[in-house]
């Protein structure tokens, strides 16, 4: 494995070989020949991987061509792409639509009652107590083992103080505490870093909900006041639920998707 950027260092010091540009041009010129050869000759797993890559490339290319075709169409009569209409005074304004799209989508979801209890991650891997808790040996000769330490990330809430040592059976390590989460809005595809308000439900165990353990599939409440959503009564929406989509103890951060 290369250590540091010694190649770049060398190039900087001595320059490239004299025929570098020409070799590069030639290699690029023959690139299509190489691809063609690969496409015909490769077999087995390598052929499979090659075909997959080609497939993805072709899709990408078709998309790009379509985009270009769109952009060459006479755009003078183009209208804002809102299906229902916008008043004249909002027509030339940009990026006013974020909260609108949010609230509209929320409303539509509400109308479909079936979607009320659906969450993006319906099933999660079970986590055993052994994995969740590490036994902490206590006592002068480390004979007692009634103390546990949580090995997962947790949310402890505002103004939390640890209990006295003698009474604290379960330790939530301060290095594994999380205050904020990266919340993605599924329809808009925007991701915002928002503060966590509380842990609503940990599907593993009600005890974990109480302890505020953050694992994949946990429902958390987040502070969405920054997004500027409003209710039908004209109040700013404050808290909203989101489901954690990653394993926070693997990534060191909490990623979640907003439930709308």
């Amino acid at each position: 494995m290369p250590q540091n950027d010694y190649i770049e260092e060398h190039i900087k010091k001595h320059g490239r070989r004299l025929d570098h540009e020409e070799r590069k041009r030639k290699r690029e010129a023959r690139e299509s020949h190489r691809i063609s050869k690969d496409a015909q000759r490769l077999t087995g797993f390598r052929a499979k991987m090659f075909a997959k890559k080609r497939h993805a490339e072709k899709i990408e290319m078709r998309k790009k061509i379509k985009q270009h075709e769109k952009s060459t169409v006479n755009t003078t009569t183009s209208t804002p792409d809102d299906p229902d209409g916008l008043p004249a005074y909002l027509l030339d304004r940009q990026n006013t639509n974020q909260a609108k799209a949010l609230s509209t989508s929320i409303k539509q979801k509400r109308m479909e009652k079936a979607a009320k209890f659906a969450v993006p991650l319906p099933k999660v891997r079970g986590i055993s107590e052994e994995e969740m808790f590490k036994v902490v040996k206590t006592g002068k000769s480390k004979r007692k083992s009634w103390k546990r330490m949580i090995t997962k990330h947790t949310f402890v809430g505002e103004g939390f103080t640890r209990r006295p040592v003698k009474f604290e059976r379960i330790i939530r390590p301060s290095a594994l505490r999380q205050k904020k989460a990266n919340i993605t809005h599924p329809e808009l595809g925007v991701t915002v870093h928002l503060p966590i308000l509380s842990v609503k439900k940990n599907p593993q165990n009600p005890l974990y909900t109480q302890l505020g353990v953050l694992t994949k599939g946990t429902i958390i409440e987040v502070n969405v006041s920054e997004l500027g959503l409003v209710t039908a009564g004209g109040k700013v929406v404050w808290g909203k639920y989101a489901q954690i989509t990653n394993e926070p103890d693997r990534d060191g951060c909490v990623n979640a998707v907003l439930l709308v």
Partner: protein, 522 residues
């Protein structure tokens, strides 16, 4: 270890400072010296200084003033304020509570009270939703009440139709199909017999009210969508046949259409960007404002329309232009509060009535005064008095603004003069509505309560209440006198794009993104 009580909350501390005996007026209050001054002319009422009890309330002051002005048999309501430098102190209950106790003045001083006449009639605030009218397949983009009264309402929608509604019954009357795209603006003709709609499909169409059918063909000519429509006021027609209509468009032109032939008689070009709004004023001037930051003043007194002046002041798009006579021009010959209803509404009597009403509303000190306000994306507004002599001449034109109104923190979308022309309300994307003096442009107060951008406002006919529609899905009614929220009207499921108070004050209609029109009544 002693437990210390938590300190009292801020509200408790504030309450503790308030005097407990709020409304007790001392019995040994001496007489005070008072003189009255008219707010519009600034003249002190003849008769000099009067000695009145220090406990006099507004009703008693009204009685006295009506007596002095010789209008006791037909009394006019007034509001009073103490002249105190730039900021007048409003008298809301009585002289003692508002002036003497807060020690703005002592009982030794002469109190100069400014009086402002109020509308004789009183519009009751709307308080409940009487009808939710669905039918539109798209967002409600614009709406307008009939100039006659609040019985008929027309709405334009994103589904390409305009609909006529009966607000008394809460039922649809007619569906006007024809436009291919969104109907962005609607306008009633001043005689209330037909209406005009402007659309995203770059055409203007006229519709008959009685049948709901389109009159003639679509009026085509603009190359981009229509942003606003304005009819020539009825009283300007004189003996001439053929009403005219002005339409503004994104393509940067204003087109004048002859309603009878439905042909474009003239194209007013000059703006270099989208013309956002235009107004046909009562003295025969068209004001058009544009995203090229200018306001153009066009002379429309003759048959051909010529440019008088271009006003440069704003630093960003000009979004809206409003006139102090807007309400009179909108209602035209119909007086919703006339004691004797117009016997016939034939053209001639409407025209005469329209002229009389316009002159009555706009004449100040014997001169027809029409003030103009423009609102812009640069977060300011300008108040103009372009024709101080009341005559449309380039030589006598005043191209300097009367006042520059600053205070909003985001773009101002809409601005409206109160029907009596005394107060201006401006709606901004910074969630607030601000009130300004309609004559001087001085800042009065801020109305806070909306939690999202305020799109539109509409005054009640008596200038005492203001209805606003906002992005936060609510319509709110504000009491203008004390600047407080009067009524919160939630109910819409999505943004409210259009709100309109009918000219007779009985109905408020609102519509928006949830595709329904709501009717609010007292």
């Amino acid at each position: 270890m002693a437990t210390v009580l938590p300190p009292p909350s801020k509200r408790a501390r504030r309450d503790a400072q308030q005097p407990k005996d709020a409304n007790i007026i001392p019995e040994d209050l001496p007489l005070v010296q008072v003189q009255f001054r008219a707010a519009d002319t600034g003249q002190v009422l003849a008769g000099g200084i009067h000695l009145i009890p220090g406990s006099s309330n507004v009703k008693q002051l009204e009685l006295l003033l009506n007596g002095l002005l010789g209008s006791s048999d037909d009394p006019t309501p007034y509001t009073f304020s103490l002249v105190d430098g730039l900021n007048p102190i409003a008298i809301t209950s009585d002289l003692y509570c508002d002036i003497l106790r807060p020690q703005h003045r002592s009982t030794e001083d002469v109190l100069t009270l400014e009086y402002v006449p109020q509308a004789v009639f009183r519009v009751k605030s709307v308080s409940r939703c009487t009808a939710t009218m669905s039918g539109h397949g798209g967002t409600i983009l614009s709406m307008a009440f009939s100039p006659k009264n609040g019985a008929k309402l027309v709405t334009g929608s994103g589904d390409g139709t305009a609909r006529l509604w009966d607000t008394d019954m809460g039922t649809p009357v007619a569906v006007m199909k024809g436009h291919e795209k969104w109907v962005l603006c609607v306008a009633w003709s001043p005689d209330a017999t037909f209406l005009a709609t402007g659309s995203m499909d770059c055409s203007v169409r006229l519709w008959d009210i009685k049948t709901g059918m389109q009159i003639g063909n679509a009026m085509k000519g603009h190359s981009k969508w229509i942003t606003s429509l304005t009819f020539e006021p009825l009283h300007l027609l004189g003996g001439r046949k053929g009403m005219r209509l002005a339409s503004t468009s994104k393509d940067g032109t204003v087109r004048i259409w002859d309603v009878a032939t439905r042909a474009s008689s003239q194209t007013l070009s000059g703006h270099t960007a989208c013309v956002t709004c235009a107004r046909w004023s009562g003295i025969g001037v068209i004001y058009s404002c544009s995203q090229d930051k200018t306001i153009k003043v066009w002379d429309a007194t003759g048959t051909t329309i010529t440019l008088i002046k271009t006003l440069h002041a704003h630093a960003h798009w000009v979004n809206f232009v409003a006139l102090s006579t807007d309400f009179m021009l909108k209602t035209g010959g119909f007086d919703p509060f006339a004691k004797d209803k117009l016997a016939t509404d034939d053209d001639e009597s409407l025209r005469i009535n329209s002229r009389a009403r316009f002159l009555k509303a706009s004449t100040q000190n014997g001169v027809v005064t029409e003030r103009v306000v423009t609102a812009s994306d640069d977060q300011t507004m300008y108040l103009w008095n372009p024709f101080p002599n009341g005559t449309v001449e380039e030589s006598s034109m005043n191209a300097k603004p009367v006042a520059r109104m600053v205070g909003h923190q985001k773009a101002i979308n809409h601005v409206a003069f109160s029907p009596d022309g005394r107060i201006l309300a401006s709606c901004s994307f910074d969630n607030s509505i601000k009130l300004w003096d309609g004559k001087t442009g001085a800042f009065l107060t801020t109305l806070r309560g909306h939690v999202a951008a305020v799109y539109m406002c509409s005054w009640s006919a008596d200038s005492r209440l203001l209805a606003t529609g906002s992005k936060d899905c609510t319509v709110k009614v504000w009491d203008v006198r004390n600047g407080k929220l009067y009524m919160d009207l939630p109910g819409h499921k999505d943004e409210v794009y259009a709100v309109e108070w009918s000219s007779d004050g009985k109905v408020v209609a609102s519509g928006g993104r949830d595709k329904t029109v709501k009717i609010w009544k007292h």
